[in-house]
């Protein structure tokens, strides 16, 4: 009987691409973003506009949102009502959220007018839109978690909209405990995953070329599922 050690030593193994889940995942990840494109140090020459900055600004603002939210979480749900330091951290959280949305909306409109879904980039657009929607939900639950007058009023108003379509039966905006969980755990996790996926897709396909641009030299081109016609 052949021992395990001798089988390993002899190199006896099946095709990793077929039987080894780890190798298959590695191969799949390697294909998702071409080598050198995850963090390239060069970009196509047409990438030359201030509008490109707003994607990065959105990401930077998201980090400030997460960081300020994490400090708020350290102090607890009511800390910012009783501490001037906590109130300042809450102010950082509020204004980073305002900046985050401002940058994200400009980024979204910029990408719309660039028709950035061209060249197999439809999924990039879709993940971006869903991340935007998830961000709205996250901010909304934040307003419900403030445990102040704004929360009371926003909750009492929002319940009618959510109840009207049957959502309020499970997503109770009058329950600040439940809303806080959505705000600090469930929705940020979902938005985080979507943002990572969005960035991976951006790196995978590269920045969309100008509308009606011709390839400067021979190279691959893609059928365009989202082109104008």
């Amino acid at each position: 009987m052949t021992s395990f050690v001798s089988r390993v030593a002899s190199g006896e193994h099946s095709d990793p691409a077929k039987s080894n889940w780890t190798a298959a995942l590695r191969t799949r990840l390697g294909r998702t973003v071409p080598a050198g494109q995850l963090l390239p140090d060069r970009q196509p020459a047409y990438v030359s506009s201030w509008i490109y900055v707003f994607g990065v600004l959105t990401l930077a603002a998201l980090l400030v949102v997460l960081a300020s939210g994490a400090v708020l979480a350290l102090g607890g749900a009511t800390w910012w009502h009783t501490s001037s330091t906590g109130h300042f951290v809450n102010s950082l959280h509020l204004w980073s959220v305002e900046l985050f949305f401002a940058f994200m909306v400009i980024h979204l409109w910029g990408k719309f007018f660039m028709a950035a879904w061209r060249g197999r980039r439809a999924l990039t657009w879709m993940t971006g839109v869903v991340a935007f929607l998830g961000s709205i939900g996250t901010a909304f639950t934040g307003y419900l978690s403030q445990s102040n007058f704004d929360s009371q009023w926003i909750g009492s108003q929002a319940k009618d909209g959510l109840n009207a379509v049957g959502i309020g039966a499970w997503f109770n905006v009058l329950d600040p405990g439940q809303m806080l969980m959505w705000h600090i755990a469930l929705l940020p996790a979902a938005v985080g995953v979507l943002v990572v996926l969005h960035i991976v897709l951006v790196r995978r396909h590269g920045v969309v070329p100008p509308i009606d641009a011709d390839a400067p030299h021979d190279g691959p081109s893609h059928d365009d599922p989202g082109s104008a016609s």
Binding site: W125, D150, Q152, S221, S227
Partner: protein, 315 residues
């Protein structure tokens, strides 16, 4: 358009274009510093709003007549929560979109009996008050029809009284124990014991404010305070925030529909606006696949500004 309109256009691969040096990491770090500094400056200059929540004690002290009227309304079954429908009770079917009654389909998952849960149960927990105990006992032993008659008669008398002042209501046997219940309810609220009696439900910890907020919303005081701060539904509602703060401007499209007909006058406005927003949201997600909409960027030459260097060199 050109001949290219007759066939699917092809978008060249980004990697086939000439490149230039670009430092993504440096750009991100600079952006992070800029955003952090900008956030700090905005926070230092403008702070953030934190208007204290309205306690039921505040309500009782500042609008006692409203508390008494609300208590009578809960007992009469005439308040918003009493006649709400799902998910709180079966008093109504709720809103619907034609034959689609999602509110009804969702069922009663957060059961609230407004008279019992919002008024009688908190009063029953008060000890050492014989008059109250007697009133609660009289109320509880009466038939439902009788309870409604008493409470409705008292609620109507309050409505007819100047400023809804209970002191101006002439005593009547037709009110049954309701005036005592309402007066004791006001007393309990004023003393600050109502929140715990409503939402703690025997649990030391509180996290769910459903009953307290339903009760507060049934009165006029909360909405009066909100309207004074331009937060009413016909004032763009939850998009705003107390004080001079930006609030949630990203919700403008949602709050917009409530300002225009037919939504502004519809009994099913919430369901209709939600349905419309779901359609629009789906449309935004599927923009790449919607003929006409996906061509707007080609018709509106904003892209020629964005890529002006590229197009200049092309011409």
């Amino acid at each position: 358009m050109t001949a290219t309109t007759t066939r699917r256009r092809r978008t060249p691969d980004a990697h086939t274009f000439p490149t230039r040096p670009y430092d993504l990491v440096k750009e991100f770090v600079v952006a992070l510093i800029v955003v952090a500094v900008l956030t700090t400056v905005l926070a230092a200059v403008f702070s953030s709003p934190d208007e204290k929540s309205i306690t039921l004690s505040d309500w009782a002290k500042k609008a006692p007549n409203d508390v008494v009227a609300t208590a009578a309304g809960e007992l009469a079954g005439t308040t918003t929560s009493a006649g709400y429908g799902p998910p709180y009770n079966n008093a109504a079917t709720g809103q619907a979109l034609g034959p689609i009654a999602l509110q009804k389909w969702a069922g009663v998952r957060i059961p609230v009996d407004s008279a019992q849960d919002l008024v009688i149960t908190p009063l029953r927990a008060v000890e050492g008050d014989a008059a109250l105990a007697g009133a609660v006992s009289t109320w509880s032993s009466a038939a439902g029809d009788q309870q409604t008659k008493w409470a409705t008669a008292y609620a109507n008398a309050l409505t007819a009284a100047p400023d809804g002042n209970p002191a101006a209501v002439k005593p009547s046997a037709g009110f049954g124990p309701v005036p005592v219940l309402a007066a004791k309810f006001l007393q309990l609220a004023r003393a600050g014991g109502l929140e715990g009696a409503l939402d703690a439900s025997g649990n030391f910890y509180k996290g769910d404010a459903t009953r307290g907020l339903l009760l507060l919303s049934d009165g006029a005081y909360l909405e009066d305070q909100a309207r004074a701060r331009n937060l009413g539904g016909d004032q763009w509602g939850m998009m705003n925030e107390t004080g001079n703060y930006p609030g949630q401007p990203w919700m403008w499209l949602y709050t917009f529909w409530y300002q225009v007909k037919p939504f502004s006058t519809s009994d099913n406005a919430d369901a209709q606006v939600w349905a419309l927003m779901m359609v629009l949201t789906l449309g935004l997600i599927l923009v790449p696949f919607i003929p006409g909409v996906r061509s707007i960027p080609r018709w509106v030459p904003v892209h020629r500004l964005i890529w002006r260097n590229y197009y200049r060199h092309q011409t």
